[in-house]
Symmetry: C2
Subunit: 157 residues, 2 copies
DNA sequence: GTACTTGCAAATAATTTGCAAATAT
DNA sequence: ATATTTGCAAATTATTTGCAAGTAC
């Protein structure tokens, strides 16, 4: 863990690599899904007994600030975390198993430019999140392995 | 208010148009920014004294389910609400004054299709939010009319 | 008249902070 | 050796729920 991008990222900022932080990084690297702080705690406690929720919150925030982890925004229950998996990470989230796959945001530039021109806004960043079903969850008859449920009960986007 | 899309939307669902709901709808229609439930309460209380926060939460949720209002996701302090302003609403949010402008998501289809093919996911919906500065806030020297502050202190997307 | 709504108060859940003890470097 | 980090407990903040009273239709 010490030599991962996350580990190096922390050191580069003059931060210390404690056993707690290493355990949290390990959890994030091994997870395919987005995780809440409580879930990170649960998994991390395996490697690091006595790990505290406060530390998890603080470490996730450090990793977010150094750009290694990103918040995943969900209609219900916001603020889960997932690591960035490819350059320029945006997230593709599975409704069934919560797996998160990153993808680059190429192809968005035109839309952003056009919108910026039309509105006069200067666009500094963007958040793009696709929601759907991963191959495995499509097969296993939709949402049966599900946890977070649907998005609502009427039309939306 | 009774004849607005929001008002009709509620009636269409067999819901009643109470003074509280009308006041909340008015607040949303008159706001250019995204608002937290507490802010909606504060403004709505002008028209409807005694309006309760519980009612605001419940009404925003009803409007969200009927597709007239959407949650705006922010890195810090998620879960503000803004009305949908154009078809297929996505949001362009001003960091300075929190104004929210909607825009249609045309141009995203290719990216979505390509990503779906590459990953095998079936994509059911997406969340796109652009963040930047509106024309007014660009002039008045960036973030001076600001409230929510920056996004962090290191690189990100 | 009746079913839907409201607002209060209380319950829950999520997140942050103060601080003394522990620890990485 | 020392500044950073931890974890507890407590404080905050956000959101939800039960329920009797009120109200739109």
């Amino acid at each position: 863990m010490r030599d991962t991008a996350m580990g190096k990222g922390l050191r580069a900022r003059g931060l210390r690599l404690t056993s707690q932080r290493l355990a949290i990084i390990k959890v994030l690297l091994e997870a395919d899904e987005h995780l809440t702080p409580a879930e990170v705690l649960e998994r991390g406690a395996g490697d690091c007994p006595g790990l505290g929720l406060t530390t998890v919150y603080r470490t996730l925030e450090l990793l977010r600030k150094s750009g290694h982890v990103q918040r995943v925004h969900l209609e219900e229950g916001c603020h889960a975390y997932a690591r960035l998996q490819e350059k320029e990470g945006h997230h593709l989230v599975c409704q069934g198993c919560h797996r998160v796959v990153g993808f680059p945001c190429t192809g968005l530039a035109d839309l952003v430019d056009e919108t910026a021109q039309r509105t006069g806004f200067s666009v500094e960043s963007h958040l793009l999140e696709l929601v759907g079903l991963c191959p495995a969850c499509q097969e296993s008859d939709s949402i049966e392995c599900n946890a977070a449920g649907g998005t609502g009960d009427l039309p939306s986007v």
